[in-house]
């Protein structure tokens, strides 16, 4: 429903607008769907002028079909895959976080969602040298932990400070502020964040359920609408600006004690990929298990064990640990050969 305004197209001036309003034509839809001859008579305007206006408006507001081949070309050139820094998670995510998509991490308290988010932010800021936007709604963002992870990557304090400067943080505690922040970023904030090196390639929201869950249920009717607003803002940002969006969610327990991602069925359609994190009962303190519960690229319910301390382990262990991880197997369904079009974002983007 787009309102007709003066200057929207040549020929649409004040007088014409007034006479159209008098004839009860207020929006583009009304104009386009009404009978032009009839309208020309009612408003005492020439048929030709109205027809020309209608054609321009149709051209402005129509959606154009795109062929599949063009779409594929566009995706190939604009999508990048960002590694999370942890090989087991990368295996689950089919080599990493994809830009243009929303990936969700879900798990109970203490399951490691924030730690994974920190690890991803540090990996992208340090190894890939790109900027990261981190929106924290839980109060759990601890810069000293980010520094700890960076200190295990490099001893050079300048590099550490540089990487820390590439992580832009926001701390918000209600949904109105979250929407303001997202639209502010979309409206120009992202470009500001690019100053100082690297374009913004990832947007992490930890957690999206903390601000939305209190609004759902009961006699509140705005909750669902606000949840879908947030989802729309995240999706638009992911697509338009080619960023990978990573969100975290809580879990609820079903009747039999099974953990299910929170925010309900409506939210479950929003992220493209969902991973459930759980503590490993008998393992060492940092062990967690990740299960793929929704994916459009791999067979679901693949499980991988990983170590939360991966992102802050000492230098010497890195080579050996990687070899160990490759040895650990996962039950994978049959997958076709690697599509040749995927490009991994390993080095600095020129």
């Amino acid at each position: 429903m787009v309102v007709l305004l003066v200057g929207m197209c040549p020929g649409l001036d004040e007088d014409l607008l007034r006479s159209l309003r008098a004839a009860d034509i207020r929006t583009v839809e009304d104009l386009v769907s009404s009978d032009i001859e009839d309208l020309a008579q009612k408003c005492s305007v020439s048929y030709k002028a109205l027809f020309a206006i209608r054609r321009v408006l149709l051209a402005q507001h129509t959606a154009f079909p795109v062929s599949g081949a063009d779409l594929y070309e566009e995706l190939l050139s604009s999508t990048a895959i960002l590694s999370t820094g942890n090989p087991s998670l990368d295996k689950l995510l089919d080599s990493g976080l994809y830009t243009g998509e929303i990936t969700e991490l879900t798990g109970g308290p203490g399951s490691g969602k924030s730690q994974v988010c920190f690890g991803v932010a540090v990996h992208i800021a340090y190894h890939l040298k790109q900027s990261v936007i981190y929106i924290d709604t839980t109060g759990g963002l601890t810069a000293s932990r980010l520094l700890q992870m960076l200190q295990s990557e490099t001893n050079n304090t300048d590099e550490q400070m540089e990487a820390l400067q590439r992580i832009h943080t926001f701390r918000l505690f209600d949904v109105g502020a979250l929407l303001d922040c997202l639209y502010g970023l979309g409206g120009g904030g992202l470009h500001k964040a690019c100053v100082g090196g690297g374009s913004v390639k990832a947007l992490i929201v930890d957690s999206v359920s903390a601000v939305i869950a209190p609004l759902l249920g009961g006699k509140q009717n705005e909750g669902m609408s606000l949840m879908i607003q947030v989802a729309a803002a995240l999706k638009t940002m992911a697509k338009d600006f080619s960023v990978a969006v990573l969100v975290t969610n809580h879990v609820t327990r079903s009747g039999s004690g099974e953990a299910r991602p929170g925010l309900g069925v409506s939210w479950s359609h929003i992220p493209r990929t969902r991973i459930l994190l759980e503590r490993v009962e008998s393992g060492a303190s940092g062990r967690r298990s990740a299960t793929l519960i929704k994916s459009s690229r791999q067979a679901c319910l693949i499980k991988e064990d990983f170590d939360l301390q991966w992102w802050s382990r000492a230098e010497g262990e890195k080579g050996g640990a990687e070899r160990g991880e490759k040895g650990g197997g996962a039950e994978r369904g049959e997958k076709g050969g690697e599509p040749s079009g995927k490009r991994k974002l390993d080095e600095t983007d020129t």
Binding site: Q115, G140, A143, L164, Y183, L185, G218, E222, T236, H250
Partner: protein
């Protein structure tokens, strides 16, 4: 990226009227004047002004880089617990600016730790403390002034033994049992409505007291345990409460400490003791400490923390308060300790 009108923070009826009048995006509203808008959309002048303000403002807060966040974090110290092993595991103590939860079975020492923290936050800055005030919200009636006096006295004695130079001696003149007691603001909440009301008033209470560095809620579970019939309402109230606590902790740089009870979760045929109030409340505190008994030892474990690894340390509660477990101590007789035992022993000590 165009912002739809339905995402602006306005009343839902106002948003409905604007959308019905054909204004879909915030940019549509931007160049109008209030009279025009109120005529078009059929809303009052006041509402039109509100709508125009919301459409043109609202780009949120500015971003803070992680480096600036790090510098801000290093400014504030943590609150020591006087149990050095626990302080080490926590990287200095209970951190300021985060919500910490202490869970445990009855009688394990949660209120004792809260009272200890209420004293420790007041330790003057020259001794490595914060020199701050504390707001103690008591929902269970477990706050005992006499116990606080004991703890305060022990802390004052400890610090006066440490005082070496002139500055520290001057600080000791302001660090006495009387001043410690006067810096503790006690609020007694009898049910969840009073608790929520108290937290609503917090943003007005805090700016007048810039020295407040600790908010203790003992316990957060007790008022909500009665709400069995409407669990979803309880969950929503708790989540709102959690958000408010996190916002207070972050915006005003205070440490928020809450205590929680334990409840039993049945998983198949196994029963497990877990913190009460459910998983959704579990996401609210950033740090979770679990206090428990193991035979005659008291153990404290960090089960959730963004910056520290899981660890378990042993502590003990003496008449002076929360302290390290004395390693050279003879194993005590295996007499089961109960709550009455503890308060009886502390009452005895004050009488002598």
């Amino acid at each position: 990226m165009r912002r739809p009108v339905s995402s602006l923070s306005l009343g839902s009826s106002l948003k409905g009227k604007l959308v019905r009048a054909g204004f879909q995006f915030a940019t549509d509203l931007r160049d109008l004047n209030p009279e025009h808008l109120s005529a078009e959309a059929g809303v009052s002048q006041q509402e039109a002004l509100e709508a125009l303000q919301a459409a043109s403002s609202g780009h949120g807060v500015a971003a803070v880089t992680a480096l600036e966040l790090l510098q801000k974090e290093e400014e504030f110290r943590s609150i020591v617990t006087f149990c050095s092993q626990l302080d080490e595991a926590l990287g200095g103590g209970v951190p300021v600016g985060k919500v910490t939860e202490i869970c445990g079975a009855p009688g394990v020492g949660k209120t004792q730790l809260c009272l200890q923290l209420a004293v420790d936050v007041q330790v003057p800055a020259v001794f490595g403390g914060l020199g701050g005030q504390v707001l103690f919200v008591d929902t269970e009636g477990g706050f005992q002034v006499q116990r606080l006096v004991d703890l305060a006295g022990a802390a004052v004695r400890h610090c006066s033994l440490l005082a070496e130079d002139e500055e520290q001696r001057v600080a000791m003149t302001t660090f006495t049992v009387e001043t410690i007691l006067s810096n503790v603001f006690l609020v007694r909440c009898r049910d969840y409505v009073e608790l929520l009301a108290e937290l609503h008033l917090l943003p007005d209470f805090l700016p007048d007291r810039p020295r407040l560095r600790l908010l203790v809620i003992d316990s957060v579970a007790f008022p909500f345990l009665h709400l069995h019939d409407d669990l979803s309402q309880r969950t929503r109230l708790l989540q709102g409460l959690g958000l408010r606590l996190i916002a207070a902790a972050t915006d005003h740089n205070i440490a928020v400490v809450t205590t929680n009870h334990m409840t039993t979760r049945l998983r198949g045929s196994q029963a497990q003791l877990v913190p009460a109030l459910g998983d959704l409340w579990g996401h609210a505190p950033s740090i979770r400490l679990l206090l428990r008994w193991e035979e005659s030892r008291r153990l404290a474990s960090i089960v959730k923390s963004p910056g520290h690894m899981d660890a378990t340390v042993q502590y003990q509660i003496t008449c002076q308060g929360f302290r390290d477990a004395d390693q050279s101590e003879q194993p005590q007789s295996k007499r089961p300790r109960t709550q009455t035992d503890q308060s009886a022993s502390s009452r005895e000590n004050t009488r002598t």
